[in-house]
């Protein structure tokens, strides 16, 4: 896809996110919308995968460590045909395929997530297994900024560099908010880039809504050898929905019917 098509696709994914969370009546729109551009670019232009064969052993792996933002993952998987789109309508409901947090029963999802801080390790296991088997797949892992307050993340950061996992690329959705407020107020994260550099990572800092920068970052990461790469993407929580942008309340609250109507209008292609 070209950049224009990707931008258009991202809007469509955002509409799916709003729609499914509004129907569900609960969920996490803020972080889903902040990571939409990053993941739309990844799934359409970077990731080697085959929706007809989700278990394809040569597939690139994607693991969403910040599992609460699964609505955007579900929207992408549905768009690729991993499961019927109508499943999006039953997100979080009893008996539904699409659980409140990522579940390995869902085609395209390998390992559960939701309890924060564990996903980078999971991704590292996939990366080490690939290297052992001399497979050339890459592993991508989406982290939340609030999430990196978890100690397990830094254990993994240390180990990924120790094991020189250059087939692993982490993506940090740096939207600056967590449930209780601004990350800088709740538990300061800065200097984030220096921290990852000090742990031995290649750090690429980008605007997480600039399609061109996103694509270039993924491309650059592929060329980094002997160390893991993290793309630190500055993003806007609730991106592209005016009343959600940088509003902490929408970290974990569903839009009302009326709010969803406004959001859909703002996200329309016209």
């Amino acid at each position: 896809m070209n950049e224009k098509q990707l931008a258009k696709k991202a809007s469509q994914m955002r509409r799916d996110v709003i729609r499914m969370i509004e129907i569900a009546g609960s969920g996490h729109p803020g972080g889903s919308l902040s990571s939409t551009d990053l993941l739309t670019c990844l799934f359409f232009n970077v990731l080697r995968h085959n929706p007809k064969d989700p278990e394809w052993t040569q597939r690139d792996r994607f693991h969403m460590s910040k599992g609460h933002c699964c609505p955007i993952w579900y929207a992408l998987l549905a768009d690729f045909g991993y499961f019927p789109k109508k499943e999006l309508d039953s997100l979080r409901s009893f008996g539904a395929l699409l659980q409140g947090h990522p579940d390995p029963k869902i085609p395209g999802i390998d390992v559960a997530s939701g309890s924060l801080g564990q996903g980078l390790s999971v991704a590292m296991g996939m990366a080490l297994a690939g290297r052992m088997d001399k497979k050339d797949y890459r592993v991508y892992c989406l982290l939340g900024d609030g999430e990196i307050q978890e100690g397990n993340v830094w254990e993994a950061a240390m180990a990924c560099a120790h094991f020189k996992c250059d087939n692993l690329c982490a993506i940090l959705d740096y939207n600056g908010f967590q449930i209780d407020g601004r990350t800088q107020d709740v538990m300061g994260l800065e200097p984030i880039a220096d921290k990852w550099k000090a742990f031995g990572w290649e750090v690429i800092e980008i605007d997480g809504h600039n399609i061109s920068e996103i694509l270039k970052a993924y491309e650059k990461a592929k060329g980094i050898k002997n160390k893991p790469t993290i793309i630190i993407a500055k993003t806007i929580k609730g991106k592209d929905v005016s009343f959600m942008e940088n509003v902490v309340d929408f970290h974990g609250r569903a839009p009302t019917k009326e709010e969803a109507v406004i959001a859909m209008k703002e996200l329309s292609d016209e």
Binding site: R61, H63, D110, G119, V122, G125, L128, A129
Partner: protein
């Protein structure tokens, strides 16, 4: 009755090497204790399939699920305290919820850790592991049974917890064929039934000999698989007596005793139960001999408990 003394962890290390030769899909992880857990044996043979995560158990366990999701059979080891305590959330959410092929083989369980003291003596690990869905829990009673358990664990598709000790243990005769979920009946008697696991099986057998001298005939049943527990065998053996004694080197809360009492209560047998185990206390430093005495985990304690409960019938 008992013969050779062995370290269960030596057996574990050797069995891992055996398995590693047969199956190149096996990977082994450790968290800076490979010398103590004996995963170092595997490291020596297959360095490319061994990963040391340093002092970072949470990372080791969540990484194990990534390996397993790519088709690897993962053996992850450290001390029982850190394996089951420090990384419990990682085990529950990343490993067991995804039903991944991870074998957590923990050593240094129980009070017999000795001089390291309370912080290192896991007395809650069976409870912590058996409560998680999809998890199989195995507590081998000696060296040879450890080998059987490790081989069986490798064949199970899904998470398994295997609990091993630090100290040498006597090999038990007549254990018979090992089958996950099927208890070993080591002795039959109609007065009292003694159920045990791990190192307490040897003590149970010694106690049964002693009790026989007082004309109290005991059944002795080694419950190596705590989950899934052998309900049929427990109901059958317990159904023949009025009193049972349950012995474990673990807290009396939530372990083997908890599991057996759940079975018996469901069946409504209404029999009396005496418990040999650590009674809602932390451990402490000392030789394992001193500690087994202090915490009343010896054959003499089983005999006393059995006589007390039997005399009431």
């Amino acid at each position: 009755m008992s013969k050779e003394m062995m370290y269960q962890r030596d057996v574990y290390g050797k069995t891992l090497v055996e398995l590693g030769k047969e199956d190149e899909n096996i990977v082994v992880l450790d968290a800076d204790l490979s010398g103590s857990t004996r995963t170092s044996f595997f490291k020596r043979e297959f360095p490319e399939r061994f990963f040391n995560f340093g002092v970072a158990e949470q990372n080791m366990i969540s990484t194990s699920s990534g390996f397993a999701s790519c088709g690897k059979t993962v053996f992850a080891s450290t001390f029982a305290m850190f394996a089951t305590g420090r990384a419990w959330d990682q085990l529950r959410n990343s490993v067991c919820y995804s039903n991944l092929n991870v074998k957590l083989v923990a050593t240094h369980a129980g009070i017999t850790v000795g001089p390291d003291g309370a912080t290192h003596q896991a007395l809650e690990d069976i409870a912590l592991m058996r409560v998680i869905p999809n998890m199989t829990v195995i507590v081998p009673c000696d060296g040879p049974q450890t080998r059987d358990a490790i081989i069986a664990a490798a064949k199970i598709k899904g998470p398994v917890y295997v609990r091993l000790g630090r100290a040498k243990v006597a090999s038990i005769e007549g254990l018979g064929k090992f089958e996950v979920g099927r208890a070993n009946v080591l002795r039959k008697g109609n007065d009292i039934a003694i159920f045990s696991c791990g190192i307490m099986t040897e003590q149970a057998l010694i106690a049964s000999e002693e009790l026989a001298k007082s004309q109290i005939e005991c059944s002795v049943v080694n419950i190596h698989t705590i989950k899934p527990i052998d309900e049929d065998r427990i109901n059958e053996i317990a159904g023949k007596v009025k009193s049972i004694v349950i012995c474990e080197e673990h807290s009396v809360i939530g372990g083997l005793g908890g599991a057996i009492e759940e079975v018996l209560a469901r069946k409504g047998l209404g029999i009396r139960v005496a418990r040999i185990g650590v009674n809602n206390r932390f451990g402490q430093s000392g030789s394992s001999k001193d500690l087994l005495k202090e915490y009343k985990l010896l054959a003499v304690d089983i005999v006393e408990a059995a006589k007390k409960i039997y005399s009431k019938s």
